[in-house]
């Protein structure tokens, strides 16, 4: 207990420096700004803005990126409530009751409920991280190559299990991602692999290029499929503060949502999406107003909004302590760490305690910024929502291209982004989820290295993965997850969970 506060104090020293407060604020502002723009999810937003953080010191970069993340999430909820258009998948359920509330003239209350719920959830989740992270990192410090390899297998499998759509295709995407991640110079032997003799590929393909292409460019083309130019009607926002009655009704849902979200966020592949769906379903069942769900029940906004914010934050736990991304956003964060020259894993907490705790404290600060930023600035966000997509997508393309160009001042990266855009569109058309690909892409080189080391350790005997208890445990868990998925009942439920609205 005492230690937790000591650690939070270290974090406070980092997060509350004037410069980092500014970057946190900038991150939250930019994140919300891009988040409310239609057709840009958090992954594309972060990938696009990531080059802007590269010149910053590592902790400022990460603080700003984290700010962009929950800013983008909050922006997504705002569009969900006001125009019935979820900015990203985790605010899909918010449209159900949130937009109904807006239609009933209670948009302001819905928005402030989302903001307050997110803030409470963020505060609680910050403490959850502060309590959970050190013991987890302690365990992880005992890991050796075999454990890491098995952990990555488990992480990748879990990301598939919790992803949408066909299991087999998601598995294919993971393997394809792992392979693409190996493009470039092999660290052990110095061999150039899969570079087609191009010097520009000898350092591999920057993951930002892959992410912007597959998530950003492909998304633009998808949005252009539908005949555009439709005018969206934005609900009027007035009466921001919830009444006493509302406050009474949202306390319990916010707390339950926070608990659900904190728990599910830690799971690999979980994060905000699963959290918001589960919290909504749970609330519908336990709430006294369960019957009103879908008709503008305030609980239906409070619970999932708290849950997705809590989940978004606790998904940092496996990323920061184990170096394992639980979702594409965390994969981008790991990529950012690597670019900054920090090797993700349990050592980060020991060697970079300022960064580690600074990021955690900044989450709370960022949530506070969100609360004070979003409600007063709602008028500005509303105006941004109304920007027609026809005007918006060329602007997004320009910023994406220049962002990618600025990574290494290499024109080749722009061409590669275009290639990955085409690939990403093909993936989308074929119902192949891009998220597992990105996770595989980040983990590919690391997995190979741990596999090599483990096999050297065991003199070429693959049984090493089964002989070491922790490694065995993780492989068994991965196997179980796959088997459970093949059980027809679970399969049907999983399909329904994602198809439902």
């Amino acid at each position: 207990m005492h230690e937790v506060f000591a650690n939070l104090a270290i974090g406070g020293a980092t997060a509350l420096s004037a410069a980092n407060l500014l970057y946190c604020f900038l991150g939250v502002l930019l994140g919300t700004l891009v988040g409310v723009l239609p057709g840009l999810g958090p992954v594309a937003t972060i990938a696009m803005l990531l080059p802007a953080t590269l010149s910053l010191p590592a902790e400022s970069a990460l603080i700003m990126l984290a700010g962009i993340y929950y800013g983008a999430q909050y922006g997504g909820s705002t569009t969900a409530i006001l125009i019935n258009l979820p900015g990203e998948s985790s605010s899909v359920v918010t449209t159900l009751d949130g937009h109904r509330m807006a239609q009933q003239g209670r948009a302001g209350v819905a928005l402030s409920t989302a903001a307050i719920g997110s803030f409470v959830a963020g505060t609680v989740a910050t403490f959850v991280i502060a309590f959970l992270a050190p013991p987890l990192a302690q365990v992880a410090l005992k890991f050796q190559a075999p454990e890491y390899f098995s952990l990555m297998v488990l992480g990748l499998i879990a990301s598939i299990v919790l992803a949408q759509g066909s299991l087999l295709k998601a598995l294919g995407m993971v393997v394809l991602g792992l392979l693409l991640g190996l493009v470039g110079t092999d660290v052990t032997s110095g061999t150039q692999r899969f570079t087609f003799g191009l010097p520009a590929l000898s350092d591999g393909i920057n993951f930002v290029v892959v992410a912007v292409g597959v998530f950003g460019i492909a998304e633009i083309v998808r949005n252009l499929e539908a005949p555009g130019g439709q005018v969206v009607s934005v609900a009027q926002v007035k009466g921001l503060l919830p009444g006493r009655d509302d406050v009474k009704r949202i306390i319990a849902p916010i707390l339950r949502g926070t608990a659900t979200g904190s728990l599910l966020g830690v799971l690999p592949g979980g994060g905000a999406l699963l959290a918001s769906f589960a919290a909504y379903a749970l609330e519908k069942r336990v709430s006294r107003h369960g019957g009103e769900f879908g008709t503008g029940a305030i609980e239906g906004v409070a619970a999932p909004e708290s849950a997705n914010n809590a989940g978004a934050q606790t998904s940092f736990i496996p990323m920061l302590t184990l170096g394992i991304p639980s979702n594409p956003v965390m994969a981008l964060m790991i990529g950012a760490l690597i670019i900054q020259g920090i090797r993700p894993g349990p050592n980060v907490m020991v060697e970079q305690s300022g960064l580690f705790w600074g990021v955690i404290v900044s989450m709370w600060v960022g949530n506070l910024f969100l609360l004070v930023l979003n409600l007063p600035l709602i008028g500005l966000w509303v105006r941004l929502i109304a920007i027609p997509y026809q005007l918006l997508f060329p602007i997004i393309l320009v910023f994406s291209s220049i962002g990618v160009l600025s990574l290494a001042n290499a024109v080749m990266d722009v061409y590669l982004m275009a290639v990955f855009g085409v690939l990403g569109y093909a993936f989308a058309k074929l119902d192949c989820e891009p998220a597992p690909l990105l996770l595989g892409y980040i983990l590919g080189p690391m997995m190979e290295e741990y596999l090599r080391r483990a096999m050297t350790l065991s003199r070429g005997d693959p049984m090493i993965f089964l002989e070491r208890p922790i490694s065995l445990g993780m492989l068994v868990a991965a196997g179980l997850a796959l088997i459970v998925l093949l059980v027809p009942v679970v399969r049907a439920t999983r399909q329904r969970a994602f198809v439902e609205e």
Binding site: L168, L171, G172, V175, R193, I402, M417, D431, L451, G460
Partner: protein, 151 residues
Amino acid sequence: MRNTGSKDVLAGLMFLAFGVLFWLLAQGYPMGSARRMGPAYFPNLLALVLILIGGVTTVRGLLSRSTPLGPFAGKALLLVTVAVALFGFAVEGAGLAVATILLVVVSSAAGSSLKLPAAMALALALAAFCVVVFRLALGLPFPIVGPWLGG
């Protein structure tokens, strides 16, 4: 999710193609042994797994009922891709300003409602913004007007 026939077939073929490509390329590198893995060992393994997944996906797709792919935004895909490639092609030679204008004008044709004069205005505004912010303020090392245009 039973009716994803043709999508599954195409996805399977895509995995197969990537698997075969990576497998073929991997054969050119030293394989090593399980104890001392060469650069080809892990990719070789992964490529074989991908070929297997691709094969199973294809067969399963062939056995299930097929459904159409849905709308395919060929024109938008082409225009967006060409616009981005043009930007990359022009940014060194013709400069940041021209590259940005090209990117905006070509890509905006992928949308339906933006007319050329409006696109041109947007392009000029964005080019000015990018030159000021990225070239002048952030020092992106690409010329405003490139050598092709005497800059």
